[in-house]
């Protein structure tokens, strides 16, 4: 992770990595056996040599390929550098680290077997070599089959461990989309974080209403929405009067940001980011207004706003 922050390392390590793929580290095995003897140490060193680069470069790649959007989003929410490292960098890197577990265990096994071929007192590799010296093909087959079973068992163990430790990836992934990224960039441009007590992900009817209610209750709230338009196919664009009759508190704002009244979807960003920090407690408590936001995808895009008795019919498509 430190290597990730160093620009020279980012420049040179990938090239080293690709070169490392081609140079055969396993060819060092005879030298290692010469240096460490035919005991177990030489097998462990051979295995280590094969594994260490694989894991190191995989982790480095993982740290290098973290989505900047995640980091910016965390920074936007006021996270410290340590919190970013703990909650964004490490979990993102772990996916890469664990992805290298399975090949690493296979490579470790290959390293040990090659070491045992070259010189060993005991081991499955030694069994194979002994059988070969005696021309006992069945002995070799037994050793090879046992070796296959050992490899499969080790891989299965690693898969289970990986699935257990990375179970959060499958269920808890929150996609940070274009709108959030844009908001993040806008917020970060000034060099300051947008701070909020509550962050709502998703600006659908529920998210917007919750944001509105929290805002009216005096809670600092930010609603993050990835879509840059109000396409009605998936968004509740009209609040039905019967919904408003629910409890008397859930009512749309009388004052809708001016930018929403002008044409052009891109100007509607103010709905999300432009009025951040405004005191929403001053919003009207009782209104008969209905706000509708026709689809912005059909060319003449505009957000129509109505208040105080006026009623706009959504433009028919």
């Amino acid at each position: 992770m430190i290597a990730r922050t160093l620009r020279p390392a980012q420049r040179h390590l990938p090239a080293l990595h690709h070169r490392g793929e081609f140079d055969s580290r396993i060819a060092l095995a005879p030298i290692i056996v010469l240096a460490f003897g035919i005991g177990d140490t030489s097998k462990i060193v051979t295995s280590w040599i094969v594994v260490v680069f694989l894991v190191f470069f995989n982790t480095f790649e993982g740290a290098r390929s973290i989505d900047e959007g995640f980091i910016n989003a965390a920074r936007l929410l006021g996270a410290s550098e340590w919190q970013i490292t703990r909650t964004v960098v490490i979990p993102s890197t772990m996916a890469w680290v664990f992805a290298s577990l399975s090949p690493a265990i296979s490579f470790a096994l290959i390293g040990v077997i090659v070491g045992e071929f070259i010189g060993a007192e005991r081991g499955i590799g030694r069994l194979i070599i002994e059988s070969e010296a005696r021309a006992e093909a069945s002995g070799m087959m037994v050793a090879v089959i046992v070796l296959m079973l050992v490899g499969v068992a080790l891989s299965a163990m690693i898969w289970r461990l990986q699935a257990h430790l990375l179970r959060w990836q499958q269920h808890n992934m929150v996609e940070i989309g274009s709108m959030e990224s844009r908001l993040t960039v806008l917020a970060m441009r000034g060099g300051e974080a947008m701070k909020a007590r509550c962050c709502i992900v998703g600006g659908g009817p529920a998210g917007m209403m919750l944001g509105y209610l929290l805002g009216r209750a005096g809670v600092d709230v930010v609603v993050l929405e990835k879509h840059a338009d109000f396409f009605r196919d998936f968004r509740g664009d009209t609040v039905h009067p019967s919904t408003l009759a629910g409890d008397g508190r859930a009512r749309p704002a009388r004052r809708i940001p001016a930018s929403c009244r002008t044409s052009g979807c891109s100007r509607c960003d103010g709905m999300f980011g432009g009025d951040a920090g405004a005191d929403r407690r001053s919003l009207a408590g009782s209104t008969s207004a209905t706000a509708s936001s026709p689809s912005c995808r059909s060319g003449t895009s505009s957000i129509s706003c109505a208040s105080s008795g006026k009623r706009y019919s959504p433009r028919s498509r």
């Binding site: 051979t46 070491g115 007192e121 081991g123 037994v142 046992v146």
Partner: protein
């Protein structure tokens, strides 16, 4: 006379073609479950223990040693990679 057809992977050379029975017999011998004379080694009469002591590189020990070396190589490799990162 019954001809036993050998079993081997498709790509292997003819000398490695062995019958499944022969391979299984060899498995029993290498794992000290059977003696080379074809008699099963008893657990309680100590034949199995004697075979294990006599044959330093029997299948059990060989597998255990290979597993141990793989585990240590794997763990040390990971630890060293982690310490390099730190």
């Amino acid at each position: 006379m019954q001809i036993v057809r050998g079993w081997c992977p498709i790509c292997s050379i003819p000398i490695s073609c062995q019958s499944r029975r022969e391979i299984f017999e060899h498995f029993l011998i290498l794992s000290c479950l059977k003696s080379k004379l074809g008699v099963f080694n008893g657990w309680f009469n100590g034949d199995f223990a004697k075979c294990m002591a006599r044959n330093e590189n029997n299948l059990w020990i060989a597998t255990a040693v290979t597993l141990k070396n793989t585990f240590f190589g794997f763990v040390i490799g990971r630890v060293v990679a982690a310490s390099r990162r730190a």
